[in-house]
C-alpha cells in the first residue's frame, strides 16, 4: 500500500511537472516576443532592456 501511494504521488507530480513545462514554453515565447517588440519600438531603451535582461539581477 505504501509503495502504491508513492507511485501515485510520483504520477501526480509528473503530471504537474508537464503542465508546468507546457505553460512555461508559452510564457517564454511571449517573453521573447515582448523583448523583440520593445527593441523595435524604442531603440534607446533597448540597451536598458538588455542590461536588465539578466534575471535575478536585483541589486
Amino acid at each position: 500500500l505504501l509503495e502504491d501511494t508513492k507511485i501515485q504521488a510520483r504520477v501526480e507530480l509528473g503530471a504537474c511537472e508537464s503542465r508546468y513545462v507546457a505553460v512555461k514554453r508559452i510564457s517564454q515565447a511571449l517573453n521573447n516576443e515582448l523583448l523583440e517588440l520593445y527593441s523595435l519600438l524604442d531603440p534607446p531603451a533597448q540597451t536598458a532592456a538588455r542590461r536588465n535582461g539578466g534575471r535575478g539581477s536585483i541589486p
Binding site: 512555461k24 523583448l35 536598458a48 532592456a49 542590461r51 541589486p59
Partner: protein, 294 residues
C-alpha cells in the same frame, strides 16, 4: 526533569547573568533535527521563547510553509520556489515593470501583484494605496532582517498571506482589546486618552496591520514577529499596550490628539527592546504561557 533542583538553579543562574538562551537553543536544535519537522512543536517553542537569531529565518520558513517539514523534500521544493521566483522576476523585467534601479521593496510588491493577478496596466499605474503601503512597510522591515532577496520575497509573501488569512477577521477587534487591557493596567491613562480624543486616533494601522513595521527597529521587531508567525496576533495588542505604558508620563502631559499621534508615530528607538520584553511578559501574564499556538 523539571523538578531537578540543580537544573532549576542553573537556569535561574543563566537567567540572571543573561545566558537564559543556552538551554532553549539546545532544545530548539533537538527539534530542528527531527525528520519530519514537528511544526506544532516549533510553533509552541516560538510562542514561548525567543528564537536564536541564527535559526530565526529557517524556523520562519518552516512555520510559513516555505520549507517543507520533510528534509528529503527540501531540494525539490526549494527548486520549485527558486524557479517560481525567477520566472516572475524575468517577466516583470521583460514587461519593463522593473529595472535595475527599482527598489527591492517595489520589486516585491509588483511580484506579489502579478501572482495575485492585480498587477496594474503599465500605462496607468495608480498611486500606491493603503494596502500597498502596508505591504511595502513590511517589505522594508523584512529586507533589513533577511539578506537573500529570494528568501526575502517568499517570507514577505507568505507572512502577508498567512497574517491576513489567519487574523484578518481579528484585526478590527484589536483596538477594543487594547482598551480592555489598558483599563486593567492603567485606567487613568485610558481615561486621559479618551477625554482628549486621542484614543480613537492611536496608530492602529501601523501597529496592527503592519505588525509594527516602521514603528519598531528590526532588532526588536523580529521578536514580535516570532510570535505572530508562530500563531498569535494578540501579541500586537500587548506591544501597543506596553508602548503606551512606557510613555505614560509623557502621554499624560499631552492634551491634543495630534500631538499624541505625532509622538507615537515616531517613538524613541533606544528602549524598544525593553518594551518588547515587557510586552511579551504581559502577554504571557494575561494569555498564559502557550502550550499550543493560539
Amino acid at each position: 526533569m523539571a523538578d531537578d533542583p540543580q537544573r532549576n538553579f542553573r537556569s535561574a543562574y543563566y537567567e540572571k547573568v543573561g545566558f537564559r538562551g543556552v538551554e532553549e537553543k539546545k532544545s530548539l536544535e533537538i527539534l530542528l533535527k527531527d525528520n519530519p519537522l514537528d511544526v506544532e512543536k516549533l510553533s509552541t517553542f516560538s510562542q514561548r521563547f525567543p528564537l536564536p537569531s541564527m535559526y530565526r529565518i529557517h524556523v520562519w520558513k518552516v512555520l510559513l510553509g516555505i520549507l517543507p517539514p520533510h528534509s528529503d523534500s527540501h531540494a525539490l521544493v526549494g527548486g520549485y520556489r527558486r524557479e517560481q521566483y525567477e520566472n516572475i522576476l524575468e517577466a516583470l523585467e521583460a514587461m519593463r515593470f522593473i529595472n535595475s534601479s527599482t527598489p527591492n521593496t517595489e520589486v516585491y510588491l509588483r511580484m506579489f501583484q502579478l501572482e495575485g493577478q492585480v498587477l496594474p496596466r503599465r500605462s496607468e499605474i495608480p498611486p500606491m494605496g493603503e494596502e500597498d503601503e502596508d505591504f511595502l512597510s513590511i517589505s522594508r522591515a523584512m529586507e533589513e532582517i533577511v539578506v537573500n532577496p529570494m528568501d526575502c520575497y517568499w517570507l514577505i509573501k507568505c507572512f502577508h498571506n498567512q497574517f491576513n488569512t489567519k487574523f484578518g477577521d481579528s484585526l478590527p477587534h484589536l483596538p477594543k482589546s487594547l482598551q480592555h487591557y489598558l483599563n486593567q493596567e492603567e485606567p487613568r491613562l485610558l481615561n486621559h486618552l479618551k477625554i482628549t480624543g486621542a484614543l480613537a486616533q492611536l496608530p492602529y494601522n501601523p501597529w496592527f496591520n503592519r505588525c509594527f513595521a516602521g514603528t519598531l527597529p528590526e532588532s526588536s521587531l523580529q521578536r514580535v514577529w516570532d510570535k505572530v508567525i508562530s500563531g498569535s496576533c494578540k501579541i500586537l495588542v500587548f506591544v501597543g499596550l506596553e508602548i503606551l505604558l512606557s510613555y505614560k508620563i509623557i502621554l499624560m502631559g499631552m492634551n491634543r490628539p495630534e500631538v499624541v499621534v505625532k509622538f507615537l508615530g515616531n517613538i524613541p528607538q533606544e528602549n524598544t527592546d525593553a518594551i518588547v520584553t515587557k510586552a511579551i511578559d504581559l502577554w504571557h501574564k494575561y494569555c498564559g504561557t502557550p502550550m499550543h499556538s493560539v
